[in-house]
């Protein structure tokens, strides 16, 4: 597969830079749907810029772990932009399994940061996010295994290949089941509505939010940016692996533009769907995530069973 290094780097930077806009768009869409004016989508950048200009607070008992965590979390999510195809082949082919672990590393340090000074609400956030994590991670892992079994490879570009020939790869039972499972897991992992309402600031209902409660200034900016990166990553993950995908192999301007527009349209579509979902659903209790997770795992296992059964019946690699 041809790889164009400057373009791949540009893609990664685009991923990092555009992530706050996605959060802004989500807020704006929600406001518009509720017939409010709402802040413009670009407001998130202004907020981040303001935070970056401020001084970071230094709570009692803070060590280097507290201060370094936001950087590490941001670094982990940032790396994913260079290892996952948006509209171009990525800079490195990470192997899908590695994605789970990189996300895990980010979650680990995010939780460490939340607990770093022993604040009461930090523990609340850490224990809840880590509980969600131990539910999400196996399910996410299994989704990735299902994808790998379907494609006979854990290489992300090989796994994505069926999605690139449009009707055949998409309208397949296993893909549709996995799409649903990935949507559930993405919503849980990004802490969107039934799991957590990120628009509120009520300490007792916080999960992910509480992890960054002690942070301020640039640290807080990094933490919020990292959350935006996570959201964008899960949108991209769902959009690229389970929806029809168009990847520009060659740096030809027309193909590149087409792939880019296709990607943006897909993300916008998912954002509209997410907004609609969040408007229709109330926030659920933490305990309910267990049921969600079970549904996702069940769907994934069905998809795996379908893939394997097809292989066994045809006595040869599927597709």
């Amino acid at each position: 597969m041809e790889m164009n290094t400057p373009l791949a780097v540009a893609q990664g930077l685009f991923f990092i830079l555009v992530a706050p806009l996605v959060v802004g768009l989500l807020r704006w869409l929600r406001a518009r749907a509720q017939l409010r004016a709402g802040p413009p989508p670009g407001q998130v950048y202004l907020d981040l810029a303001k935070l970056f200009r401020k001084t970071s607070s230094n709570p009692v008992g803070a060590t280097w772990i507290f201060r370094a965590s936001p950087y590490i979390v941001f670094g982990c999510y940032g790396v994913l932009g260079f290892g996952f195809p948006l509209f171009l082949p990525p800079l490195v082919h990470p192997g899908l399994i590695a994605v789970v672990y990189v996300l895990g590393l980010a979650a680990f340090f995010s939780a460490l940061g939340g607990m770093a000074v022993g604040a009461p609400f930090g523990g609340l956030g850490s224990s809840r996010t880590m509980f969600l994590r131990i539910l999400i991670e196996p399910a996410f892992f299994l989704i990735i295994l299902a994808v790998a079994l379907k494609a006979h490879s854990t290489n992300v570009m090989v796994a994505i290949a069926p999605m690139r020939n449009f009707p055949g790869g998409f309208f397949e039972p296993a893909t549709l089941m996995l799409l649903l499972a990935a949507a559930i897991i993405g919503i849980m992992e990004a802490h969107r509505i039934p799991v957590e309402n990120l628009e509120t600031n009520l300490e007792l209902t916080m999960a992910q939010r509480a992890n960054s409660l002690e942070y301020s200034g640039p640290h807080l900016a990094l933490a919020e940016w990292a959350e935006a990166l996570k959201l964008l990553f899960f949108l991209t993950f769902t959009a690229s692996l389970f929806l029809p995908t168009f990847i520009a192999d060659s740096p030809d301007a027309a193909r590149l533009t087409a792939a880019f527009v296709f990607y943006v349209v897909k993300i916008l579509l998912l954002l509209v769907l997410l907004t609609a979902w969040e408007l229709l659903r109330p926030r659920a209790r933490l305990r309910a995530s267990l049921e969600w997770n079970t549904e996702a795992i069940f769907l994934t296992l069905l998809a795996i069973a379908y893939t394997l059964a097809r292989q066994i019946l045809t006595k040869g690699p599927g597709q």
Binding site: T55, S56, S57, N58, P59, V60, G61, A62, T63, W64, I65, A68, I72, G75, C76, G78, V79, V92, H93, P94, G95, L96, I97, A98, Y101, V102, F108, A111, L112, M115, A116, V117, G118, A119, P120, F121, G123, S127, R128, M130, F131, R133, I134, E137, P138, L142, L145, L149, H152, S153, T154, N155, E203, L301, I304, L308, Q311, I312, K315, P317
Partner: protein, 730 residues
Amino acid sequence: MRMLDLGAGLATIALAWLAGFGVPLLIHRRSRLATAWSLECASLGGITGMVLGAGALVGGGAQHLTILSGGRVPSVRNFPALDLDVYLDPLAGLFLLLISFFAVIISIYSFSFLQKEPDRVKIAAIYNLYLLSLVFVVVANNVFFFLLFWELMTLTSAYLVLYRHNKLADAGKSEGTDYEDAVTSPQVYLVASHFSTVLIAVALLGLAAYAQQAHYTNVFDFRTLKEFAAASAQSPALPLDWIFVVALVGLGIKAGMVPFHFWLPYAHPSSPANIHAMMSGVMIKIAVYAMLRLFFEFLQPVGWWWGVLLVALASLTTLVGVLYAIFNSNLKTALAYHSIENIGIILVGIGTALIFRWPGFPAASGNLLATLALIAALYHLVNHAVFKGLLFLCTGAIEQLTKTVDMEKLGGLALHFPWTTALFIAGALAIAGFPPFNGFVSEWFVVQSLLTGLDQTAISFQLFAQPLTLLLALVLLANAFALTAFCFLKVVVTVFLGQPGRLAEPEQWLKRDVPWAMRGVLLLLAGMCVVLGLFPSQVINLFTPITARLTGSAEAVPVVSMGWGLQLSLPPPLEAWGDLEIIPMVGIGLLVALGAYTLRGVTRRQPSPAAPQAIWSCGSPILPAQSQWTEAALSFWVGHTFGAMLGQAWSRMFSRRPMVGQKAFLRDEMRLSDDAAAVEVFRRALNRGLDILVTFSETFGSEAQNKDIRRYLTYIFVVILLAFVILIPS
């Protein structure tokens, strides 16, 4: 590449370690000198062993040597069963290297670690003998001497397990559950180990008897057994299944495989931390070594269900190990449970390899898949030794700094001991399997081999059990990996972060971080975690001769190409499966992140905040030490999700007090109490089993031995009858 002659090398090792054992017993009054002598001998032997092991591993060939011929003993002339034979092939070389490396670094660590230890002479002396037994188990080439050194290994380590008992007795605390635990732990250890030795002996002797039946001579020699296996692989005639089961149980006990693991978290933590590192990091892997020898070299052909059984048990082991680790508040016990978990991961690799060694599986992809799975197992074995060594030695450091390893009494160590904290976190990241550390690569390998295996078993579908087991293993491992990350998050948070807890006595803690001898060893191990994570290909390619021998495939297949990260270069039909270029990428990402963090401190335009501010508590003042989250509170949701698997252990942890109400979430009321700790399902099962056995034998025994002469005469008659029945046909 052979830098050292086998005989000379082993003689040096044996002499050094015997001197390290013997001399201190003579000069034990001058304990400082005696300890130093012991540890120096241990390092010297270790360095020799490293050279020898590395030579065998890199050289690729096998060396054989008869050190002491049984024929030279006058009364047992020409009795080859008593030949002290040694055999060093790449597999033995790898283990020799591992043991010797840890012998060296643990000796260096022990120079400072044992400084204030009253029992230091005894520990250091026995440590030498213990090392000797480990090395000779690995190189022994004879059933008799293998079992002899196996037994020596058990006895020397049992002495070291007595440590906690001795310490409590010396302190005059010879009462209470703590002391009872300390008394019973070496007993449990000895019973379990001897039971395992018996089973291993039965398996090996059964195999030797089969070889004898097939008219082989010198059947106690491992090489004969290997020849016998090669012959029986061609024309299988004998039932080997029972040998497999007996050996699996025997070695499973020693390795800590569920459901035979119960003794391990009970016995290992009773030894001093440096020995604990050796036991949990290296010794339990000797059982894995024996499994590799037995299942891949001596027992052929492989039955279809062997691998299936092993994978099923091993994947269960990972989950059970990590769950019990989460619900344990003693750091050493929790780490011992994690050893069980990691042994499970290693055994999953070995079991997967066994599945594909089944002759019914298409040989072309079978050999390749077995190779992949073996590499996963071997690499995880090495990695686990490194990161677990790091974690255990860090725990030793914590014990020395704070006089406790009870997580409830720790907290806020990062404020006092930055080095230990950073190094422990490195070990935690490695064991949780995060890139760019080494645990990630081997866990990735295990998953990759399971996944390719699942794919191939489905393609060349023969048995339903095979894909089903591999899928089960994947599901259980996925859970275990997530839970390991959680467990170590909990450990790092409770031990190192926040403020010293409510039960902590920070005024008794040492004022300074550990001395440089210990710190250097920890740094070396942490560095190895990173190097083994960033350059896995270089190490994995060393395994090629081992896997070629174990899978019996003529040509060695290098499965990875060299360079940064990892790229599988598999021949067809597996060429499409995965690569791993992201490891260096994550490394770079982390470096950039940390660089940004450091630079921000340097180039900051604003003055750094002068005084630390209070933490956010909704506006009302709080006492941080009292109001921070405890480990029990942190793991509540895990208990909620997985509690059913743990029997009463978890529910007692929480249900003894109401969750709501002002007293909830406090440390002492939430801890896993001693009686709750005693209810681990498997130990209860064992106790129940023993109970039944004792009752049965009591009833039966008193009935059978009723001192009636007629009954005894009947016994004699039955025995003679049986002897006729057995002997006459032959």
